[in-house]
């Protein structure tokens, strides 16, 4: 299965990994790849830890990624990076959004948000860290954070040559095309 690429998007329910993965998979299908994608629905979405998994290649069987199989992992939230790190290959690229969302045990004070995540992961994997939320805010819309992260993901995958302006325009809300294209480029430049 060496020709298959595995991408893991991890984050917190409600962060909106869906749009980013929709744009990416539209581009991959259009380029002739076999593509499978998995998401979590239902109760797990209510502020819980969520993943979107995308696999593409000549022929893809399993719709989900096993431990030690992801080529690229994009973490929409920092602590999720350590929760899912076991799912990446030792030589994987890990893109981390430097953004914290404390979980319930942290909020009520029964646990502390782990410190030094970036330092530890950087010593063990190929990690790129940046503040997607800040970049999106500077561009004028904090909601474009996911498209900034998509830009970083595309760069990590080496898929810059595809017609991203078109795929983004076709999938985002009318009137927001230009903003999202700028967000995407900012994401590519960030790592």
């Amino acid at each position: 299965m060496a020709d298959i690429k595995n991408i893991l998007l991890v984050g917190v329910g409600g962060q909106g990994t869906i749009l980013a993965s929709k744009i990416l998979s539209a581009a991959l299908v259009d380029s002739g790849y076999d593509v499978k994608m998995s998401e979590v629905h239902g109760m797990a979405q209510r502020g819980g830890s969520v993943t979107t998994q995308i696999r593409y290649g000549k022929k893809v069987y399993s719709p989900i990624i096993g431990r030690g199989e992801a080529d690229v992992m994009v973490c929409f939230e920092k602590m999720e990076a350590i929760r899912w790190i076991e799912f990446v290959k030792p030589d994987a690229k890990v893109v981390i959004n430097d953004f914290e969302i404390p979980s319930a045990p942290i909020l009520v004070g029964s646990a502390e948000y782990p410190q030094g995540i970036i330092e530890e992961l950087s010593s063990k994997a190929e990690v790129s860290v940046f503040e997607a939320a800040k970049i999106a805010k500077e561009l004028g819309n904090p909601k474009a954070m996911n498209i900034v992260l998509l830009g970083a993901l595309v760069k990590a995958l080496g898929l810059e040559a595809m017609d991203w302006d078109r795929y983004i325009s076709e999938n985002v809300k009318k009137g927001f095309e230009e903003l999202n294209i700028r967000a995407f480029r900012a994401g590519m430049d960030a790592i």
Binding site: V29, R46, G47, G48, Y61, G66, E86, S103, L107, V108
Partner: protein, 592 residues
């Protein structure tokens, strides 16, 4: 046309292309989107509706199929338990027009209370079963299911699982082909399942089983793929996808899409051509037991776990003892369990409830099940849809003898109440119950993603509908009008007053908390009834004494930053539950 679709989207498309005229369901993860798709994308051609529960959905679809139109009923695995009664007998009578029941199982319990393997239902009901392994097959098999249903006049069991329902893969789709409706003809001997007629039907069921097994051995739905002869793998559903990847190009495969009755001749032939036979199936040894019973040696659950869902990783480890290299960290992620959303109307009521000590709280299935979690811990039991009021009633009856004065409160959502809670409350009223039923009416079916129900004023297809008058319904069932209390759950004083009165009341009482789900797009009815203007809350740092009482609400918009509580303005919705909890009036509405 070629498109990336989820299994649910593809199953809906398949039903549409197959000419289905009637579809019904009760929402339940992972099945919900099948009917949502039919009720929106294909509503011109397919009449679709939300039933109040799965039994009603199946019975309505049975009526539609007997009347001559192709019919579909969809539900999650535990929904089939609710619908098992009509299903078992419909297996006897058989159908006129094509009938398919979708069972969406949830191995791994992503969003369920158990992981029962519903393949046994097909065997139990003696009806054929199809198991798609991806979206492409979800569409193709759905169309095949209608052909087979009409060929043998039998309901067809269509078994999906979470990863088939919610994974996207490439689907090529076609056009709708109208199925000519059958002309209805009265046929008492066929459709009236009295003992006399059912005995005749019973014999026919076994004849049908024989024909179906012959078919199972020859159909393309069950496909051998011969490669090497050293290892053979029999698999079905998404487990096939994992097996195909793990065992690779060297092994031979028998992929089963038609799994009841099992193709025993085909399996014998396949087994004879390989040295070592593996059965890779998720959950129980449904196939393995039957293969072993036929005297065929194989390796299945001896190595492959029957708990949880499979993936390539688990299959590889189970069969070959191999594990991929992984990165391990010393730092561990803190758990991130799902929580009630910021502004969720259930929070205020559960906060009030959590202050009552010495009571038993029976819970139900919905977002509010999360009221059991830290820091509220306000639920003692959760069993199944509709169980809260009846388990509470039974518990209260025992406490009358064993711990007089101990009170029981049952919590249930609006949609779950209308699903099967109504009959539970009827029992409490009828049988001299003495518990408190709390109907958490958030004006929508919340957890599955906002489906309409008989209480919301709209149908699946977007038409206006009458709304169940819940207080009037309670009175009609025998609850005294003075024992019914309606509150705004975001108002803690109202909650406390209602709980005081309800717990002191003679006989069964009802509290109805009424406020729309914070994630719901307000309907016209909601806009008329509720003040939904949003003013976020802020901590006044001068007044805050850092007692952190507000954190006891468990609201995810509140967090401690440098030892001080801050309210995230992006997620706060201004419900002001925290403001009422604060002993120092340090939480204020922005702009006030």
């Amino acid at each position: 046309m070629k498109q990336l679709m989820t299994g649910n989207e593809a199953a809906a498309r398949g039903a549409y292309e197959a000419g289905v005229l009637f579809a019904a369901a009760y929402p339940g993860t992972p099945s919900t989107e099948i009917l949502e798709n039919l009720g929106t994308l294909y509503k011109k051609d397919v009449y679709s509706e939300w039933a109040p529960n799965e039994k009603v959905a199946v019975e309505s679809a049975i009526g539609a199929a007997i009347a001559g139109g192709r019919a579909l009923a969809c539900m999650k695995h535990v929904g089939v338990n609710v619908a098992a009664d009509p299903l078992m007998t419909f297996g006897y009578t058989g159908t006129t027009a094509g009938f398919v029941i979708v069972s969406a199982d949830d191995p791994g319990m992503h969003s369920s209370q158990n992981e029962q393997d519903n393949r046994y239902y097909a065997k139990f009901a003696k009806i054929p079963m199809l198991e798609p392994s991806d979206s492409k097959e979800a569409l193709e098999y759905m169309k095949a299911a209608y052909e087979l249903s009409e060929k043998w006049s039998t309901p067809v069991f269509f078994r999906m699982t979470t990863r088939v329902c919610h994974s996207k893969s490439i689907v090529e789709f076609g056009e709708r082909k109208e199925a000519k409706p059958f002309k209805y003809e009265k046929n008492i001997a066929r459709y009236v399942a009295t003992p006399a007629y059912a005995k005749v039907m019973r014999v026919k069921v076994e004849e049908r089983m024989k024909k179906m097994e012959e078919f199972s051995n020859t159909t393309d739905l069950n496909k051998p793929e011969y490669n090497g002869s050293r290892i053979g793998v029999i698999s079905s559903g998404v487990a096939y996808q994992y097996a195909r990847e793990v065992f690779g190009e060297e092994a031979s495969y028998l992929k089963l899409g038609f799994t009841h009755p099992m193709p025993m001749n085909l399996i014998k032939e396949f087994a004879s051509k390989v040295d070592k036979l593996y059965i890779v199936e998720e959950l129980e040894p449904y196939m393995e037991d039957q293969i072993r019973a036929a005297g065929i040696d194989c390796i299945g659950k001896a190595v492959i776990p029957n708990i949880g869902e499979l993936d390539t990783d688990r299959v590889r480890k189970a069969v070959f003892g191999e594990e991929n290299d992984t990165i391990k960290t010393e730092k561990k992620a803190v758990d991130r369990p799902p929580t009630l959303c910021a502004g969720c109307p259930h929070r205020g009521f559960f906060y009030s409830l959590s202050k009552r000590k010495g009571i038993m709280v029976t819970g139900d299935i919905g977002c509010y099940t999360l009221g059991n979690a830290e820091p509220l811990y306000a639920i003692d039991t959760t069993i199944c849809m509709g169980a809260s009021i009846s388990t509470g009633h039974g518990a209260a009856k025992v406490f009358e003898k064993t711990e007089p004065g101990k009170k029981v409160v049952s919590v249930i959502g609006d949609s779950t109440f209308l699903h099967t809670g109504v009959s539970s409350l009827m029992s409490a009223a009828y049988n001299g119950g003495n518990s408190v039923a709390v109907i958490l009416d958030n004006r929508i079916t919340g957890m599955t993603g906002h489906q309409q129900n008989p209480g919301t004023g709209y149908t699946l297809m977007g038409e206006p509908a009458p709304q169940v008058d819940i207080p009037a319904l309670c009175v009609a069932m025998g609850i005294r009008a003075e024992n019914i209390f309606i509150v705004n759950p975001n108002n803690l004083e109202e909650n406390d007053a209602a709980l005081d009165k309800a717990l002191a009341a003679e006989g069964p009482s009802v509290i109805i908390t009424k406020w729309p789900c914070i994630l719901k797009k307000p309907s016209d009815h909601d806009k008329k009834q509720f003040d939904l203007s949003k003013k976020t809350c802020k901590v006044n740092a001068d007044k805050c004494r850092n007692c952190k009482m507000c954190l006891k609400t468990g609201c995810p918009a509140l967090f401690a930053k440098d030892g001080k509580v801050v309210i995230d303005q992006g997620s706060c919705t201004g419900c002001n539950v925290c403001g009422q909890v604060c002993p120092f009036d340090a939480i204020e509405k922005a702009g006030e």
